[in-house]
């Protein structure tokens, strides 16, 4: 086994997990929401970028903001539909609604984009860096750098800005937040728009690594769920660490045992952590860390 190469693979995969999970982490930490439509939002992000490039001939780097904008709109629309349930914190209904929302997105995408696998082509995939036995692409590098940047910006906004204070206030006590003169519905909408935009952004950076299919949402939702749970429900820094750790685990498990059992192994890991250290997984008000 080429240990150095697996390390690089693990770091890349890990950052992709973390980047895909960042929006859900904020959603869970602030609005206490689980979004089982998250994976399908990822899929739509990838397909919107692909479709924009194909239909308009725009280059990849301009298709990214288009997909991000679409993701934000989808997130905001989702929030408008679920506002009442969100304010009531009706969690079971919300889970089912998000699950249904994801299915609608998947059906709609199949109808709009077809059932064939496609490729979201990034020119950065073709730029290689080689250092002795190790190689990676410019796309991998962009993914890692963008993920670190997004996590740092998110932490800074949460810890240092008034907007971040509002998100933390809503996370702690949405009713009391109203008495601070804050329109809680608008804050929730912003959080959902961020979730949609962030997962679409992640999709445009991660999806060029593999073929894209309208049915790929489910796999994403599973891995993201594991990342946010292992990260300590809703903890921003924890999700980054969990994504990275899971990526390294996936890379080495795949190399040492078999890639076929990676998902199973990840769930064994998840269950083991939840049984052994359940306290770490409880949603707390320290999610901004």
């Amino acid at each position: 086994m080429n240990v150095a190469q697996q390390l690089v693979n693990g770091i890349t995969i890990g950052h992709s997990y973390a980047l895909v999970a960042v929006g859900w982490t904020l959603l869970l930490g602030s609005a206490r929401l689980v979004n089982f439509g998250h994976g399908q939002m990822y899929m739509v992000g990838a397909f919107v970028a692909w479709w924009v490039m194909r239909m308009t001939g725009l280059p990849y780097l301009l298709a990214v903001p288009a997909a991000v904008a679409m993701g934000a709109v989808i997130g905001a629309v989702m929030q408008m539909l679920m506002l009442r349930l969100t304010l009531e914190q009706n969690l079971v209904s919300l889970m089912i609604v998000t699950l249904g929302f994801g299915q609608i997105l998947e059906g709609g995408a199949g109808f709009a984009f077809g059932a064939q696998p496609q490729r979201l082509v990034s020119p950065l995939e073709g730029i290689d860096f080689r250092f002795g036995p190790v190689w990676f692409t410019a796309q991998d590098l962009l993914l890692v750098v963008a993920t670190i940047a997004l996590f740092l910006v998110l932490r800074w906004v949460l810890a240092r800005t008034v907007l971040g204070s509002w998100v933390r206030m809503v996370a702690e006590d949405p009713k009391l937040t109203q008495l601070g003169g804050v329109n809680v519905a608008l804050v929730y909408m912003g959080i959902f728009a961020f979730e949609g935009a962030a997962v679409a952004f992640a999709a445009t950076l991660v999806a060029p690594r593999t073929p894209i299919m309208t049915s790929m949402g489910f796999d994403q939702v599973i891995m993201t769920f594991v990342v946010v749970v292992l990260g300590g429900i809703g903890s921003v820094g924890g999700s980054y660490a969990a994504g990275l750790g899971l990526g390294l685990f996936t890379a080495f498990f795949g190399a040492l045992v078999s890639p076929a059992y990676t998902t199973t192994a990840v769930f064994v890991l998840l269950i083991a952590v939840m049984v052994l250290r359940p306290g770490d997984l409880a949603a707390g008000r320290g999610f901004a860390r």
Binding site: L179, G180, V182
Partner: protein, 243 residues
């Protein structure tokens, strides 16, 4: 005089059970009105309904006029924007935010002749203890300090009318006096305050007008000097030895 705040035919019910029915309540500008009554009389329900806010889901009818505008049907944050501010009972601050974040996370309106929005420094001058603890998490503070912080945040929002729900609850007697004297000074400077208080002995020392609430109904109202002699108040709250 034209009242700043006027409540007409306010009725609040929870799942069909009537909790409060107040036909009229008016606050004159620059006065301190007290609402007293036993536990469960509906005091919190009344001020919450005036602020258009609740942790539960009550059914509210009637009108709440702020400077003549009916704000009754507006969401809670719109009441705040218009200067109708509530400091709720008990949990009134964000425990995960620092003292300073609690104060800075609200948007102060421009100060006017009828709404004074306190700067962060001004509320620190009013409550020096908060300045000392500005960097601490609100969750690490005592009950009295949290109460000061909750009130300070309301002052940042430029109250036209300040509704205080049991600010003295859980506080040491000396702190209760300090707090109510601070409220009195704000009123003397022109603010209009409605104070819900279970500590009637302390309340009668500072309020101008007293309202007695029983089972959701206002059974007596009047200037505090007269209400102090009301047998229902003396019997239930002040004891025979009073005045």
């Amino acid at each position: 005089m034209i009242p700043v705040l006027e409540v007409r035919n306010l009725a609040v019910s929870y799942g069909g059970d009537a909790a409060v029915a107040v036909s009229s309540l008016a606050l004159q500008p620059g006065t301190l009105s007290g609402v007293v009554g036993a536990n469960g009389a509906g005091k919190s329900t009344l001020v919450n309904a005036i602020a258009g806010w609740s942790r539960a889901a009550p059914r509210v009818s009637g009108s709440v006029l702020l400077d003549g505008e009916d704000v009754g049907s507006l969401p809670a944050h719109e009441h705040v924007r218009r200067g109708l501010l509530l400091v709720p009972e008990g949990h009134g601050v964000f425990l995960g935010l620092s003292v300073e974040e609690n104060l800075r996370a609200v948007r102060s309106p421009p100060s006017s002749s009828v709404r004074r929005a306190f700067s962060v420094d001004e509320v620190y001058d009013l409550f020096p203890r908060l300045r000392e603890r500005r960097a601490n998490a609100a969750g690490s503070m005592s009950g009295g300090e949290r109460q000061m912080l909750a009130m300070a945040r309301a002052l940042r929002l430029g109250p036209r009318v300040l509704l205080l729900d049991e600010p003295s609850i859980g506080l040491a007697p000396r702190l209760v006096i300090t707090l109510l004297q601070a409220v009195r000074r704000l009123v003397d400077a022109g603010m209009t305050v409605l104070l819900v208080e279970q500590n009637v002995r302390a309340a009668v020392e500072v309020v101008d007008t007293l309202h007695l609430l029983e089972r959701g109904r206002m059974i007596a109202s009047g200037p505090v000097a007269a209400m102090k002699d009301d047998p229902r108040i003396i019997e239930a709250y002040l004891g025979a030895s009073h005045g």
